[in-house]
């Protein structure tokens, strides 16, 4: 009965916050409140079915509805989804298996370029004829294909380097990501595979197969207005699949083997865990997630170039996993959401606010400090430009004060302390 009561309370919170967003569609604060209802659903003790019902209510019905009021929210939600999926992939490698991968973005890039090259006229450059771009339906072939390609490249990289010590592994994966980025940047000659720094565009989007159905029911809408919702649901589906797979893996013998390796590699090997094979599997699974997300990213962006796949992206995803809690699925989701929202809404919002201050022409007089002409604030101070500082502080402070993250994994009681 108590569970039901809290369920009703949660429902009230969700409705209130969505009402707030509905009345103030431009307020970032209202939207953040609405987003936090998901966190509340996770925290408040209610039966699992109610949680599932409420979170699907929020994600499947309310979110797209509110997104139709302010398109930017839907964009934020899609970005959050993409980063959640990436962070969940890295969580398997770093969080569960304890392998620090600093080049995670390379697999993301591989997936993105896989679809970008064949889903645009680019492939005509090196395959004779004008077969390309492939029809949009191929998107659904490339999505599963990218999972295999990602897993394959992950294993390919992992095979030689997984015998290395943890810190060497980190640097090698970093080097690998730089190699991939450099190749993508330079492989526009002698044969034009990637179009170099100019990037690839236009990339095909997945087909709007449901449009006739919508029209049949009288919802005639232009493709341009449908795509954000479409991508939102594609990303939501991807994230849901990744969460299901990660949870199943986490609770299986594979997940236990990963955690055993993370805690003590030698002990794990002594207990008969096939260490190298398990590490390879972790690498491959993480890479396949990233690569699948890459396909969706390329289709959503329409244009991609090497700039989207820098070292900073890898670090951003790492910061998400560490902030949320390595090895914890809700933690990783939370970390990815917080970092993305901070990046997209908070920092940008602050920058806009600073801009408006500058244009207001107010001259501020402070006691003891003298007067400040606000129009003199240098443009260099825009907080949106200091994401490295934010990520850096997150990493240092989390390591010093809370290395287990905001939401550490619940079954993490088997720590290695006390062992000789």
């Amino acid at each position: 009965m108590k569970g039901l009561a809290s369920g009703v309370g949660l429902m009230a919170f969700i409705l209130c916050s969505s009402l707030l967003v509905y009345s103030f569609p431009q307020s970032a604060l209202a939207f953040i409140l609405f987003e936090s209802s998901l966190l509340l659903i996770y925290y408040v003790p209610t039966p699992g079915k109610i949680k599932l019902f409420l979170s699907s209510l929020v994600l499947v019905i309310l979110m797209p509805f509110l997104g139709s009021l302010n398109g930017y929210y839907l964009e934020v939600a899609i970005q959050v989804g993409i980063y959640v999926a990436l962070a969940l992939g890295l969580n398997i490698v770093v969080g569960l298996a304890g392998l620090l991968n600093l080049g995670f973005v390379a697999f993301f890039a591989i997936g993105a370029y896989l679809w970008a090259i064949f889903g645009s006229p680019q492939a005509n450059e090196f395959i004779p004829g004008s077969l390309f771009p492939l029809s949009p339906w191929w998107f659904f072939v490339f999505l599963p294909l990218s999972i295999f390609v990602g897993a394959f490249t992950g294993a390919l990289l992992g095979l030689p380097v997984l015998r290395l010590r943890g810190d060497y592994l980190a640097i090698v994966t970093l080097g690998f990501a730089e190699v991939i980025r450099s190749l993508v940047n330079n492989l526009d000659k002698p044969i034009n595979f990637t179009n170099g720094p100019r990037g690839i565009t236009p990339i095909e989007k997945p087909p709007l197969f449901f449009q006739p159905v919508l029209e049949f029911f009288g919802f005639g809408a232009s493709p341009a207005s449908l795509y954000p919702f479409y991508f939102y649901f594609v990303v939501l589906f991807l994230v849901a699949m990744i969460i299901v797979v990660t949870r199943r893996l986490d609770n299986s013998s594979i997940g236990r083997a990963w955690k055993a390796i993370r805690e003590d590699e030698i002990a794990a090997a002594a207990m008969g865990v096939p260490v190298v094979r398990m590490k390879l599997l972790a690498f491959a699974v993480g890479a396949s997630f990233a690569s699948a997300v890459g396909v969706v990213f390329a289709a959503k962006q329409v244009f991609i170039n090497p700039e989207s796949f820098t070292f900073m992206e890898s670090i951003g995803v790492l910061a998400m996993v560490i902030l949320g809690g390595m090895g914890s699925i809700p933690g990783t989701v939370l970390g990815a959401t917080v970092v993305t929202v901070v990046n997209l809404q908070l920092l940008k919002g602050l920058s806009l606010w600073l801009n408006s201050l500058r244009q207001s022409g107010i001259i501020l007089t402070l006691p003891f400090l003298g007067t400040f002409d606000l129009s003199q604030i240098p443009a260099q101070f825009e907080p949106a430009k200091y994401e490295r500082m934010v990520f850096g502080l997150v990493l240092i402070l989390m390591m010093i004060y809370r290395p287990q993250g905001i939401l550490p994994p619940r079954r993490g009681e088997a720590k290695s302390d006390g062992a000789p």
Partner: protein, 322 residues
């Protein structure tokens, strides 16, 4: 072929200059690894801070008009010294704030903290320079002395800049060699690198020696930063990343923890890179050009770590127990 031969001397000089620069930076990685078994990822920013302190002093001297009045050798000495001290102090401070609280934690924890410190420092430098100069892309003013070149033989000209880098690096390396091998403090550093617990029992203040190691490694990075600025002129807060990664490669190439190894690794890598930059396009008929020189260094890193992780001169392995 004639063309390939004719550029050989300048390629060699470029490679050696680059190599000494990598060697100076690599020393910071290798010394810290020696005492703490930890990759100081933020060392590339220590290097950048040296470069920025150097350019700031240059610009201040230029603004006050004394750049022309003072003897260039004196100016260079002041700038190098300032870059050295500030980078050394920065490295020490970093150790105190971001690494010391994490000693004794699993390996990846301080590494992640170091990555955080690296990112933080990049934007910190950017912030300070934006506040101070309203731009964060700075360039070293040119000194007449450095723009000249010395004729060696019939057709080879060596720029004074390159000579400056090589001579300074050699002096620094000699001083470091003397310091580590012939002084009491150097002996303490070696003792801590060998076995911190026993060193502590022998009355060596391990924490202070670790701080000193950071200072010395940072100072080498600072000198490299100033030399980098003098040689390539342009600096920005993010310049450190690629040289840092390559210097780390050099340290691994030579055998991490091994001081002479870092120097050897730096020079080998510098030569490799200079040759790749000049000869790759000749060898492949222009198919692959100088843009692949970064790739050469990273592929070298991956190959070394896979096939000979202890490096050319062997990794200095800490003696376990007995």
């Amino acid at each position: 072929m004639d063309f390939a031969l004719s550029i050989l001397p300048s390629v060699l000089v470029d490679g050696i200059v680059l190599g000494f620069m990598y060697a100076l930076i690599a020393l910071g990685y290798t010394m810290v690894y020696g005492v703490l078994e930890f990759i100081n990822f933020a060392h590339s920013e220590i290097f950048v801070i040296g470069a920025f302190v150097g350019v700031e002093i240059f610009l201040m001297l230029e603004a006050s008009g004394s750049l022309i009045a003072l003897h260039p050798a004196f100016v260079l000495l002041v700038v190098l010294f300032a870059g050295m001290i500030s980078s050394g102090l920065m490295a020490m401070g970093l150790e105190r704030v971001a690494y010391r609280p994490l000693r004794g934690t699993p390996r990846l924890v301080p590494l992640i903290s170091a990555i955080g410190a690296s990112l933080f420092l990049q934007d910190f430098v950017r912030f300070v320079e934006s506040l101070w100069r309203n731009t964060f892309y700075l360039s070293y003013p040119s000194l007449d002395l450095l723009e000249k070149s010395v004729k060696l033989g019939a057709m080879t000209e060596v720029p004074v800049k390159s000579i400056l880098v090589i001579v300074t690096a050699l002096i620094m390396l000699f001083v470091l060699y003397f310091f580590v091998n012939k002084t009491k403090l150097g002996m303490a550093i070696r003792a801590v690198a060998q076995d911190p617990a026993t060193a502590s029992l022998m009355g060596i203040p391990v924490n202070r020696i670790i701080a000193l190691t950071f200072f010395v490694g940072g100072a080498m990075g600072g000198v490299a930063g100033v030399l980098f600025g003098l040689h390539y002129s342009l600096v920005n807060p993010y310049t450190g990343f690629i040289p840092g990664l390559k210097a780390f490669t050099a340290a691994v190439l030579g055998g991490i923890g091994n001081i002479p190894g870092a120097v050897l690794g730096g020079i080998v890598l510098g030569l490799l890179e200079a040759f790749a930059a000049s000869y790759l396009s000749i060898l492949t008929d222009g198919t692959f050009g100088a843009e692949y020189k970064d790739l050469v260094a990273f592929i070298a890193l991956i190959l070394i770590l896979i096939f000979r992780p202890k490096g050319l001169m062997g990794e200095r392995v800490r003696e376990e127990g007995a």
